[in-house]
């Protein structure tokens, strides 16, 4: 089956008074690996299940290509789905699990054998074809689930937190398998996760969600480097949020006052003066001779870098990472330090949380 682009327009799902999905519009390109990312309860799984056909669409439309699928029952949508808990049929062998969808499509027996074998090879479990599910590990089961979903050549592949039940090492391994497979097959894929690292690693584009709404859509680097709001900055990676005062009449050459330290030469996109906030990632902060005064509360050696928790004079605590290869010594707790930041890599917000730079 040919893969489609997916267009979601003003989609709404309500449970009683609660809007699980509160009006979402998204355009997912054909062949794209698209991730819905957000904390639990943000509506990402609800939206995925609306696309799959397991939840009804209360308002708005969802279309595959030109076809609105609102009233198409789940089993006629031509989707492939991978579930969090694998959902392998316990009474069927690995081979028959993968063949299940093909049999429903009245594919000839020879063709089924051929396609199942190819699919199992692609997920590297050819030798397990005759096994029963209870003889498989979690990782192997998820490979079966994956093969079962893409062997039917779905128009859209949906994945609901497929890696969250696996251990950390296996998760990274499977992540790579899924990504390579998706590239090779070119199936439009919608992936749901709450793990921001996983989302960054695997996606072409990410939609960050919160309270049933989209907070930002963009490529992984865009989302990481230019979070459009405080929520995204805080949810993706680690960000320090610092109160600041924005001074100077010329918004192209403003001054930031952070804990009584002045950072000049800041370019803002619009005029603004007064209280604001900056977001800065721990790796863009450095210990230097000049900068914001503070005291090390706790230093933690983590192998490739050292993590410092620093209490600033304005009472705020920040996290600063220093690469072990750049550090001469590990500075002791209680030591007075000065913190400098790379002003090109910070995000400045006004008091309403809108981005100023």
């Amino acid at each position: 089956m040919e893969s489609y682009n997916v267009a979601i327009k003003d989609a709404v799902k309500t449970y009683g008074d609660f809007k699980a999905v509160a009006g979402i519009t998204l355009d997912i390109n054909k062949g794209e690996f698209f991730t819905l990312l957000g904390p639990s309860g943000c509506g990402k799984t609800t939206l995925l299940r609306m696309i799959a056909g397991f939840n009804t669409i209360d308002q708005g439309t969802i279309s595959f290509g030109d076809r609105v699928i609102n009233n198409v029952p789940a089993h006629k949508r031509g989707i492939g789905m991978v579930f969090q808990n694998y959902a392998i049929f316990p009474h069927l062998s690995v081979f028959n699990n993968v063949a299940y969808g093909l049999k429903a499509r009245k594919v000839s027996a020879d063709e089924i054998t051929k396609r199942v074998e190819i699919a199992l090879e692609m997920v590297q479990i050819s030798e397990l074809a005759a096994r029963m599910p209870n003889e498989l590990s979690g990782g192997q089961q998820q490979r079966v689930a994956l093969a079962r979903a893409f062997v039917i050549e779905p128009s859209v592949l949906l994945m609901d937190e497929p890696l969250s039940n696996l251990d950390a090492k296996l998760r990274v391994q499977m992540r790579a398998t899924i990504k390579k497979l998706q590239r090779k097959l070119g199936i439009t894929t919608i992936y749901v996760t709450h793990d921001q690292e996983e989302a960054l690693a695997i996606s072409d584009r990410i939609a960050v969600m919160r309270n049933g709404l989209i907070m930002q859509v963009g490529e992984p680097t865009e989302i990481y480097k230019k979070p459009e709001n405080e929520f995204v900055a805080g949810f993706i990676g680690v960000s320090n949020f610092l109160d600041c005062e924005i001074e100077g009449k010329d918004h192209e050459n403003a001054v930031l006052n952070v804990s009584d330290y002045r950072l000049p030469g800041i370019r803002l996109s619009q005029p603004y003066q007064g209280a604001g906030k900056i977001a800065v990632r721990p790796e863009y902060l450095t210990l230097s001779k000049e900068g914001i005064q503070g005291k090390i509360e706790l230093s933690t050696f983590l192998g490739d870098f050292i993590e410092y928790e620093i209490l600033l004079e304005n009472g705020q605590t920040i996290q600063l990472n220093e690469y072990t290869k750049d550090a001469l010594t590990i500075k002791p707790d209680g030591m007075k330090v000065k913190v400098m930041m790379d002003t090109d890599s910070i995000i400045i917000y006004n008091a309403q949380g809108e981005v100023l730079n």
């Binding site: 789940a74 789905m81 049929f89």
Partner: protein, 555 residues
């Protein structure tokens, strides 16, 4: 109108039709008969129109009040004795290395599965007026205590029903986390103190559940008090039977009134228990099941002895009937000597009863399995108003004793336009209605722990929800449902209390025939028939234990 009632416009799909069929069947075979019963209970031959006359009669005449007293007396003491036998046995079996634990377990289950009226009958064979033991002791001049009357009935109930308490309590005892008791020990309480302050309160809801099962089953039983009461110790189910069957025409109205009173008794006990459990529910996830104490030598023997004795006594009736079925008889009773003529007699004279029993039960089981699966699916996966109504209706037969269900079906279906009395259909309906709750309960339990995404995976692969139900859900449910169905099969073939109300000449069953043969003192054939039932029960039970591998609950 639909809107007013709060119903959304229903989706017309497979499940819609299933719901319609199930609800209609329930209305027809349960709601309609039971409401007819209630209506009839307010009519009397003496007064025109609706009246409380029958109820007034019940609460004013000694005949009825004595029966009520007897019923409550017998059920109360049976529950008490079952508790005193079942609970300590459960403790010993779960905590000590009893000799032959597995065999003892099978014996306990067998005691529960065998019909109580066969128990009653074999106790008569042993301790009755012409009983083997009675005669033996009489020959050396000792008078044995009588088996007839309340004492005998309580004895039979105890040996038949203590497994309920045993099963509930041993289930609870083996799921107590051992750290809980160890904590009690650390806090310095002695073993006995610990048993009463820690273990007992925790298993209390299970003890109660077991006792309530005993109470309801003994309240509903008809065969035992009929055989051992000898018309002197009357209980309510016997009165229901008498009121309907009595030779002076029979009074269906009074039978209805008595039925309503019996249901009220068992319903109130069940509600009391539910109220108590709702308030005290200790959810327990056992991480470390308690250790089994390894006793040696005479200590181990001493612990095994009482357990083995009870298990043996529970099986004694079965052994008695099987042995006596091979003993020659004449009109005076057993006269000694080995023979097969009892079996020849039943095969020539009572063949219909034997085929009827197996045929009715098999058909009933087919309906029970199919409806059981569909209904439990609706209850778990299609939750809503219709499902909650269904839930209430399907569980209602729990509190309806067999003889009462018999009266219900008779008063509803013995008049135009629908006459079903005397047909095989009405027998099968009564089996299905009574046993369906058990299948639905175990089916729902299975579905609750089955992940819904397995079904969704099938749907996402292009199989419609209806086909998914048959290809995946039903397929996965089947092993559990089938082993549960074997248990229902056992209770169907042994069913007496509704069959005795509903049978006609052509639809009589083995259990009915046993009852009649005992009544006409034809002990040989009765024993042979009882042996046929016992043998089927034992075989079915062994198949059940094999298939279910301990995964399917018996209670």
């Amino acid at each position: 109108m639909m809107k007013l009632l709060g119903f959304r416009k229903p989706k017309v799909d497979f499940w819609f039709f299933v719901k319609v069929i199930v609800i209609l069947a329930m209305l027809f075979f349960l709601v309609y008969p039971f409401s007819t019963l209630i209506t009839r209970s307010f009519f009397s031959k003496k007064v025109d129109g609706m009246t409380f006359d029958n109820y007034a009669t019940f609460f004013s005449k000694k005949y009825y009040l004595d029966a009520l007293k007897n019923t409550l007396y017998i059920t109360f003491f049976s529950s008490l004795t079952c508790l005193l036998v079942g609970a300590p046995m459960a403790y010993l079996m779960t905590r000590y290395n009893i000799f032959g634990k597995k065999i003892i377990y099978v014996c306990i289950i067998l005691a529960l599965m065998s019909p109580p009226f066969i128990g009653a009958y074999s106790w008569i064979l042993l301790f009755g007026r012409a009983g083997f033991v009675t005669k033996l002791f009489a020959s050396i001049g000792i008078k044995t205590p009588t088996i007839y009357g309340p004492g005998g009935i309580i004895l039979v109930f105890t040996l038949h029903l203590y497994p309920y308490v045993y099963l509930y309590v041993s289930g609870a005892l083996s799921s107590i986390d051992s750290s809980l008791e160890e904590a009690g020990e650390n806090l310095g309480s002695s073993k006995i103190r610990r048993l009463f302050t820690v273990t007992l309160p925790v298993v209390m809801p299970s003890i109660l559940a077991g006792v309530v099962m005993v109470f309801m089953t003994s309240l509903a039983d008809f065969g035992t008090p009929m055989l051992l009461g000898e018309g002197k110790t009357r209980v309510l189910p016997v009165l229901v039977y008498d009121a309907y069957m009595s030779e002076i025409g029979g009074d269906a109205n009074m039978a209805s009134t008595l039925s309503v009173i019996v249901v009220a008794c068992s319903l109130s006990v069940l509600l009391l228990q539910k109220y108590y459990v709702a308030r005290k529910n200790y959810a327990m996830t056992s991480l470390r099941p308690p250790k089994v104490v390894e006793l040696r030598g005479w200590k181990r023997f001493l612990v095994t002895l009482p357990v083995a004795i009870v298990a043996f006594l529970g099986l004694l009736p079965q052994l008695t009937v099987v042995i006596s079925s091979f003993i020659r008889t004449d009109f005076t009773g057993f006269i000694g000597g080995f023979t097969l003529e009892n079996y020849e007699k039943i095969l020539s004279r009572l063949k219909t009863n034997i085929t009827n029993t197996y045929y009715f039960s098999a058909v009933a089981i087919v309906f029970i399995v199919i409806f059981g699966m569909l209904i439990s699916y609706i209850l778990v996966r299609k939750r809503g108003k219709v499902a909650s109504i269904m839930d209430l209706l399907v569980m209602f037969p729990y509190v309806i004793p067999g003889s009462v269900l018999g009266v219900c079906l008779i008063v509803a279906f013995n008049r135009r336009p629908i006459i079903l009395t005397g047909t095989a259909a009405i027998m099968i309906v009564s089996y299905v209605v009574r046993k369906l709750p058990y299948t639905v309960r175990s089916g729902s339990a299975f579905l609750y722990q089955m992940d819904v995404s397995v079904e969704e995976a099938s749907v996402s692969l292009g199989i419609s929800p209806m086909k998914t139900f048959f290809k995946v859900v039903a397929r996965l449910m089947l092993p559990g449902i089938l082993s549960g169905a074997i248990l229902s099969w056992i209770t169907c073939i042994n069913e007496l209390s509704s069959s005795i109300m509903l049978y006609s000449g052509k639809t009589s069953t083995i259990s009915v025939a046993i009852y009649q043969e005992v009544m006409r003192m034809s002990d040989g054939t009765a024993a042979a028939l009882a042996s046929v039932l016992t043998l089927t029960t034992v075989l079915s039970l062994l198949i059940f234990l094999r298939l279910s591998k301990g995964k399917v609950s018996i209670i």
